[in-house]
Amino acid sequence: MSTKKNWPLWEVFVRSKNGLEHRHFGSLHAADAEMALENARDVYTRRNEGVSIWVVESKDITASNPENNGELFEPAQDKVYRHPTFYDLPDEVKHM
């Protein structure tokens, strides 16, 4: 089976209900976008998890380099005033 080529990897994003954003659910293999959608339906929404699916080929995602985490993320750690933690949120407001 040395000639067997693996299908490319796809990232799957599912919107679990209307009004919410799509969230990353996981990844899978598929030959093309259409098959990726069908596979995502079967692999990730079998238990009624979603109302909408996005798929994107993993190679098309540009990711930050973990080596740069220091300069990218650490400066935000001591700036507590950037968080809206000084407001009281009513219980009815979910998903904030």
Partner: protein, 250 residues
């Protein structure tokens, strides 16, 4: 009347049970994780439909039998499924071809069954048709991918279509129970589905660059309990626990 309705329901449900068992046996054996889950999802859909039908049949029978009795305690000749669905999982091409040749029929059948004067059957049909619509999309898609794929995938797909073609005509045969139920507007007149069925199948085979088989000789018998040699093995798997430990429960 009751006996005909009972047999009519089994005739529908047994197709889903046997095909569900075939697809379910792919659990952990599918060609990839994704297709494995897709095939076993189809199996679960079919088993769900079977339960509704058998529960209704058990009620019609009016004795103490349950859906499980109907599924597990019959002998080979008492199963009324078509020969097509009991054919083995020879390879992925056969699995897809069998599914496709059944799905096209199943979708057309349920479309008509929704109009049944029997409200339970009509309700089961309405609930099932969305699932079957997806099954047909899945299997048609794979027919096209493999048919219009590589030289090898095309050859395998064509062989599977040729091999199973002889079982398609039986889908449109009427049993005595069929005729009685059609006369009461409960059943679907399957003879009227035949032309539309071959139109859909031929169109998809053409799109897939596959040949429509020309064979005019067809197998029959499943609908009246005369099966191919494959059903006995399938049942010995399906019924193993009940045969080994009668009346076991968990």
């Amino acid at each position: 009347m009751k006996n005909n309705l009972y047999k009519y329901i089994l005739g529908i449900a047994d197709n889903s049970l046997i095909l569900g068992q075939r697809m379910g046996s792919l659990t952990g054996h599918g060609p990839s994780l994704e297709t494995d889950i897709a095939c076993t999802n189809i199996s679960l859909d079919l088993f769900g439909q079977v339960r509704s039908y058998y529960q209704y049949a058990a009620k019609i029978a009016g004795d103490n039998r349950t859906e499980d009795d109907i599924a597990m305690l019959r002998k080979e000749r008492e199963y009324l499924n078509v020969l097509l669905v009991e054919q083995p999982n020879t390879d992925f091409a056969y699995i897809i071809a069998r599914q496709f040749l059944f799905d096209v029929y199943h979708f057309m059948f349920l479309t008509e069954l929704q109009k049944s004067h029997d409200v339970t059957l009509s309700a089961i049909a309405t609930k099932s048709i969305k699932e079957v619509s997806y099954h047909q999309r899945f299997s048609s898609d794979w027919i096209k991918r493999l048919g219009d794929g590589t030289e090898l995938s095309k050859a395998k797909m064509q062989e599977a279509i040729n091999g199973l073609w002889t079982y398609t005509d039986e889908l449109f045969h009427q049993t005595e129970a069929d005729k009685a139920m059609v006369a009461q507007s409960i059943g679907v007149d399957v003879t009227k589905l035949k032309e539309g069925y071959y139109e859909v199948v031929n169109t998809i085979l053409n799109e897939s660059t596959l040949e429509v088989p020309e064979s005019k000789w067809f197998q029959k018998g499943g609908k009246v309990g005369i099966h191919t040699e494959h059903l006995g093995y399938l049942l010995s798997d399906l019924q193993f626990m009940q045969r080994t430990y009668p009346n076991m429960d968990w």
